[in-house]
Symmetry: C2
Subunit: 250 residues, 2 copies
């Protein structure tokens, strides 16, 4: 194909769950991100070859899964749910005993957001810096509009999720320029933030409020891990049975 | 005062009206901005010495004011309301015959946003690039938390309003560093966008979706005017009787 084509599919960024009602995600690919820490932890889990992750929004639902014998992980505002086997640090998900297992996960922002985005006709994938190129390449191959959905913090804009959105949008618009375009101000802003940050994301993220929230709780040991680019080829996608890594299926 | 004080008042940016419910604006100063074009037009009107502007959200209410003999201005999605005397271009508000008059204004985003932000204990001011330093200096002198509220476009993030927010937040945190601090990711992002744009805001704004929306409608003649920095000393503030320029009262 040497012909120049007019780009056909829009790429948009939804900056927080509180803006989700303004987007039409039918027939789209939604890439959900929650860098600190839910989606990074999911990618870490699939790198550790877990079988699937069942995302849950209600605490009672997590408890019911536990009573049925499931491995249950989760937190609220960074703090492990008292009945859960472990919290939401990506390091928790690297435990060798989890290989082949199904994990039920419930987090403050990430799994709540997942519940919002799943629709009849859309495809939902999990994005983190760890698997940015893998998830974007897959999303581009679906030949649909793409929406990058930032989980944020309690409805608010978050710097680290927006940086991911910018990095992903920049990649899609550069590598898929024959197919994708944007006329979405949020995408443009996120791309420019990524340009500002990309030389040293670790230094940039020092400014982020959630980075300080994690530090206060002694949970900031994950930051360097979460900011690593493209160390994973996982493509976690939401299916009926939960989130599975379709990279190992295809 | 030579003592170093711990900054006391937060400054935050609310990126769109759809996020407003996440902010506590009681006892705050809210600086509302809608660069293309409502708040720029208001500043232009006060530079032209209008007496007051009554912001109205409902079309029926504008019509009722017209029947009472008021001068009525307004638009929906850029198009003049058919019964209005004029639309929402700042150039409309420079007409010499408007000096000393009260204008009833109704716009797609700006006056709707004004209706959202007014509360019992807060102060609401109108900000645009034209009066950035004037409105920020006044806001800083109130010794209250500051929230910069971007009117956006139909609930969505807008690049031009966010640039204003960044320029204003940067100014407040620089000039009022003894009193003001931020731990709000939106403020940090907007400041960085402003740093990216400030050498040539006109070139930067070429990327904005609303700039192209205005161009399609033949309304982009206002862009250069709207992006001028600090040509006005107006401080339009919402009072019971409407918006008035308190710079001429003090």
């Amino acid at each position: 194909m040497t012909d120049t084509q007019t780009p056909k599919f829009p790429i948009e960024v939804c900056l927080t769950p509180a803006l989700w009602h303004l987007y039409d995600a039918s027939d789209s690919v939604v890439i959900l991100t929650d860098i600190f820490r839910a989606t990074t932890s999911m990618v870490a889990a699939f790198d550790n070859k877990v079988k699937s992750i069942i995302p849950v929004a209600e605490i009672a639902e997590s408890l019911a899964y536990k009573e049925k014998g499931y491995i249950v992980a989760g937190e609220r505002e960074g703090k492990k749910l008292d009945f859960a086997h472990f919290g939401n640090s990506p390091f928790n998900f690297m435990e060798p005993s989890l290989t082949g297992k199904t994990i039920v996960l419930n987090t403050t922002n990430g799994t709540q957001a997942l519940n919002m985005v799943k629709g009849k006709n859309n495809l939902v994938a999990i994005g983190a810096f760890l698997n940015l190129v893998a998830v974007c390449n897959w999303a581009m191959a679906q030949n649909r509009p793409i929406i990058i959905f930032c989980a944020g913090w309690k409805g608010r804009f978050s710097l680290e999720d927006s940086l991911f959105a910018g990095a992903a949008a920049e990649y899609v618009l550069r590598m898929g320029k024959e197919k994708f375009f944007t006329n979405c101000d949020s995408s443009i802003a996120c791309i420019d933030l990524w340009h500002t940050a990309k030389a040293d994301p670790r230094a940039y993220i020092e400014k982020a409020s959630h980075r300080h929230r994690l530090e206060k709780m002694g949970l900031d040991d994950v930051i360097d891990y979460c900011l690593q680019l493209n160390i994973s080829s996982c493509i976690p996608v939401l299916k009926k049975e939960g989130i599975v890594n379709i990279a190992i299926r295809s």
